[in-house]
């Protein structure tokens, strides 16, 4: 089989690129290393854990359902409370990881139900509910911090990912402006609660 000129040129380019790859060295262009690795692992931590993901989206949806000022107070205060939870994880205080995992699973159940039932609570009540769950989520993220390639970049990653998940939730919650959208939101709430129940069951199975 004869190669066309174009194909031969492409093969030659890949060959040259391959040869250069064999001589790859570390760039070491800046004193701060591991930023990319830390950032990516931080960004992925809340996204790849389904329990974190659904709970964070639920916070955003519930904030949108409650309207002003909860729509912006909850997402603004949540990262800071979550960081305080991260400090608890860092401090190595003897808080059972089982308790934290159950807290995270229950956050999905509770927030899912609040969204599905469209429950309205006073702002301080919403802040307490979200704050307690924020501590649990933060604890789980914070416990991973010392093992990160670059702890600062990891922190940036998981805070930004959490904030963006809230934003997704708020955008979903804004569907309430449409009659069909309201149903979609309530069904989403039910799904989140069901997933949460699944996480609780899995935790119970692991425990016994």
């Amino acid at each position: 089989m004869r190669m066309t000129d174009g194909r031969r040129t492409t093969c030659l380019r890949f060959l040259i690129a391959g040869v250069f790859l064999l001589f790859a060295v570390r760039a070491s262009a800046h004193a701060e290393t591991g930023v990319a690795g830390g950032l990516v692992s931080g960004l992925l931590h809340p996204v790849t854990g389904l329990d974190h993901l659904v709970a964070m989206v639920a916070v955003g949806i519930w904030g949108a359902q409650l309207g002003r000022p909860a729509i912006w107070i909850l997402p603004v205060t949540f990262p800071m409370i979550m960081a305080l939870g991260g400090l608890l994880g860092l401090s190595g205080l003897p808080i059972s990881s089982v308790l934290v995992e159950f807290g995270i699973a229950f956050s999905a159940v509770t927030l899912g139900l609040l969204v599905a039932l469209q429950l309205r609570v006073p702002l301080w009540g919403a802040a307490v509910i979200v704050g307690v769950f924020g501590l649990c989520h933060g604890h789980a993220h914070g416990a991973e911090l010392p093992s990160a390639v670059n702890p600062l970049a990891y922190g940036v990653g998981f805070v930004v990912a959490t904030g963006l998940l809230h934003l997704c939730g708020i955008l979903l919650g804004e569907l309430k402006r449409f009659s069909a959208g309201e149903k979609v939101i309530r069904v989403t709430g039910v799904l989140i609660a069901v997933l949460g129940l699944g996480f609780v069951t899995l935790n119970l199975i692991e425990l016994f």
Binding site: E32, V76, M82, A83, P146, V159
Partner: protein, 203 residues
Amino acid sequence: MTKLRPIIWIACLALLPQTALAHLVSTRFGEFYSGMLHPVTTLLHLLSWLAIALLCGIQQQGYSKWALLLFPGATLFGALIGSWFLHPEWIHLVNIASFLVGLLVALALRLNPAAFIALLLVFGFSHGFANGEPGLRGSEFVLYVSGVAAAAYLLMTLISAATRLTVTQAPWGIVAVRAAGSWIMAVGILHIGFTLMIPAGLE
């Protein structure tokens, strides 16, 4: 013979190899750009400067203009001093404390002028000091510290202008700025905790 001539020339040149120094990694873009890149490629400085610029964008316009001069000036002074002295540990602690500016942004606080100026001068100096480069002398030193000050000026001008525009033009602007402040504060809480709680070497 004519055909052989270029080959002989190439062979002669090949016998006289020199280091090319043509790559930007080894030239480091020159000391001015090295100075500019040093703070903006270090998350500790970048995030704190972002918080200060966001705070500047939500202050009264008369006061926020001062920041464009005072912050780069303090950074330049800090970089000059920091290039001549050893970096004490407290400078690092002051720098990580500058994450707390994120809380002021999250609260959308308008500071009184004296407090705002003090904040600009203290954090400008401490971040400039940490960016000092002791190994440089002469024109390289001047270029480097000018680069650090230019980075402070550019970042402060662009981000504070963008913040003011967002806050005044978009109905969601102030919420976005407050959220950005809370994110920086959250990262700061974690970094302060990590620095104080985890002994070096155990991470």
